[in-house]
């Protein structure tokens, strides 16, 4: 009998963990992305001598330093909740991933120390700017390493491999089948997520401010943030495909559940959010091209065409495969799974939609960067373009939350039973004896 089967009234203990982890990730991903964006911006400011980059980098670094408290508080509360509510599961994870957790803790410590030092010596190192920029990138590196460690654990929970000896421990646990694609997915996602949030914040400030110089600055900041946000978003379908391929090969039942089965609605939801992000970003770029210092009518007409294609490809992604939309709440039409919807199948329509979205995305970003090279008249953006940026910030948060839920719920195929470590440790923390990858380690160590 497992020890400590505590439950939490009303919301249940699963929700407690989900809330703490999801909230923490929303801060952690932003901090990792923002530190690297700020360090890059500081470097660009050093090279180009444009004041906007330096002002932006310093303000963002200051915000990250202050935001660290919330992210760290949620992290430690989550660990406390996990130890209290799932003690057996946590001890199993510790058994397999002791060194990973240890390295993660020190990377986290390194990140805190360097981020604080980076912000505090900003003026002191004003004449040694290169060194100061390096501080920012080192802080970002520590954050990425901490993320990598925790990704090993998170990916192992979905696609554990059988660890049969000490020699195969690292290869089969740390480098399990979905670890690398998950890490790449999150690495790129950090930039995209932080970029969209920065753009949304800039949009909000642009609409609120009354000073002309601030309007110009926030207009520029919205453009800069969106370049990061959308620029990295369009890489995600390829990486996401690699991640899903890993899940399909090593946990086919989970893949079927989230892509084709009862939880496929989560992916429909996800592509709706991505559709909003893509259309809002492209519309912003089209709008912005009107304010290029050097008039670029042809470029703008091409961008309008790209907006049309973006809308077309997002529609292809959104169309559900069959009429069983959300079976959990009875949202099923016609014959349910038997009723196939035209243009809704994964092959070829979803592939065409995703690849098309990427190609059009690269095309519009290239057009926009071409126009950026000659510069824009800042401070003249319309109200609607700023609403588009704010919509991006809102929908990117929904994207993050939806993706987090999708990955975690993939271990609950038919809920019979649900797993903490897929196919190995059940929700009541009991170990499945047959085929459980952790058996040799736990039994070998007396677990």
């Amino acid at each position: 009998m497992p020890i400590g089967n505590l439950d939490v009234p009303v919301i249940g203990k699963n929700v407690v963990i989900a809330v703490l982890v999801q909230s923490h990730i929303l801060f952690a991903a932003f901090i990792i992305g923002a530190v690297l964006i700020a360090a890059t911006s500081e470097y660009l400011g050093m090279v180009t001598k444009q004041n906007n980059y330096e002002r932006f980098a310093r303000n963002l670094a200051r915000f990250v330093v202050l935001l660290f408290a919330s992210g760290a508080a949620l992290a430690i509360t989550f660990v406390l909740a996990l130890v209290t509510l799932f003690p057996v599961f946590f001890s199993i994870l510790q058994n397999i991933f002791f060194w990973v957790f240890l390295v993660e803790a020190f990377m986290f410590l390194g990140q805190i120390i360097i981020v604080y030092a980076w912000y505090n010596v900003w003026d002191k190192l004003a004449y040694r700017k290169s060194l100061h920029v390096v501080f920012g990138f080192i802080a970002g590196f520590f954050g990425l390493m901490a993320m990598t460690m925790i990704d090993a654990v998170a990916s192992f929970m979905l696609t554990p491999a059988e660890v049969t000896s000490e020699a195969s421990l690292v290869a089969r646990s740390f480098l399990n089948q979905t670890m690398v694609p998950l890490n790449m997915h999150r690495f790129v996602g950090n930039f995209s997520y932080a970029g969209f949030l920065i753009a949304g914040w800039a949009g909000w400030r642009y609409l609120r401010t009354t000073r002309e110089d601030d309007r110009e600055y926030y207009d520029w900041m919205g453009h800069f943030g969106l370049l990061w946000g959308f620029g990295f978003l369009i890489i995600q379908p390829v990486i996401g495909y690699g991640y899903l391929k890993g899940i399909r090969e090593s946990a086919p039942e989970s893949f079927n559940t989230i892509m084709l089965g009862d939880k496929a609605w989560l992916f429909n939801l996800l592509v709706i959010w991505i559709a909003v992000l893509s259309i809002a970003s492209t519309a912003y770029f089209v709008h912005k091209l009107r304010f290029a210092i050097e008039p670029m009518e042809t470029l703008r007409k091409l961008a309008v065409g790209a907006l049309g294609f973006t809308a077309l490809f997002t529609v292809l992604n959104i169309i559900p495969t069959n009429a069983s939309l959300i079976p959990q709440i009875g949202l099923v039409f016609g014959q349910g799974e038997e009723t196939e919807i035209p243009l809704g199948s994964m092959y070829p329509w979803k592939y065409i939609g995703l690849i098309g979205l990427m190609l059009v995305g690269f095309f519009i970003v290239a057009l926009y960067l071409r126009a950026s090279a000659t510069g824009f008249h800042w401070g003249r953006a319309s109200r609607w373009s700023q609403y588009a940026l704010m919509a991006c910030a809102f929908f990117v948060v929904l994207t993050m939350v939806t993706m987090g839920y999708t990955r975690e719920t993939a271990r609950r195929v038919d809920n019979d039973p649900g797993y903490l470590i897929n196919g190995c440790v059940k929700l009541d923390q009991s170990i499945v004896k047959e085929g459980c990858p952790t058996i040799p380690i736990t039994e070998g160590k007396g677990g």
Partner: protein, 48 residues
């Protein structure tokens, strides 16, 4: 009934009324914690 199944009853992955309630309760809590922490951080970061 097996304990594993009992624990899952009414959870977020279960299509019962309490499961749906918990799904939205979790979402509401995440957004609340997130937005209030961001708002708090903005408030303490304002230079006035």
């Amino acid at each position: 009934m097996e304990l594993a199944l009992l624990l899952q009853q009414g959870s977020t992955g279960d299509p019962t009324a309490i499961g749906i309630f918990r799904f939205f309760a979790a979402f509401f809590l995440i957004i609340t914690i997130y937005s209030s922490s961001l708002g708090f951080t903005y408030w303490i970061s304002k230079e006035e």
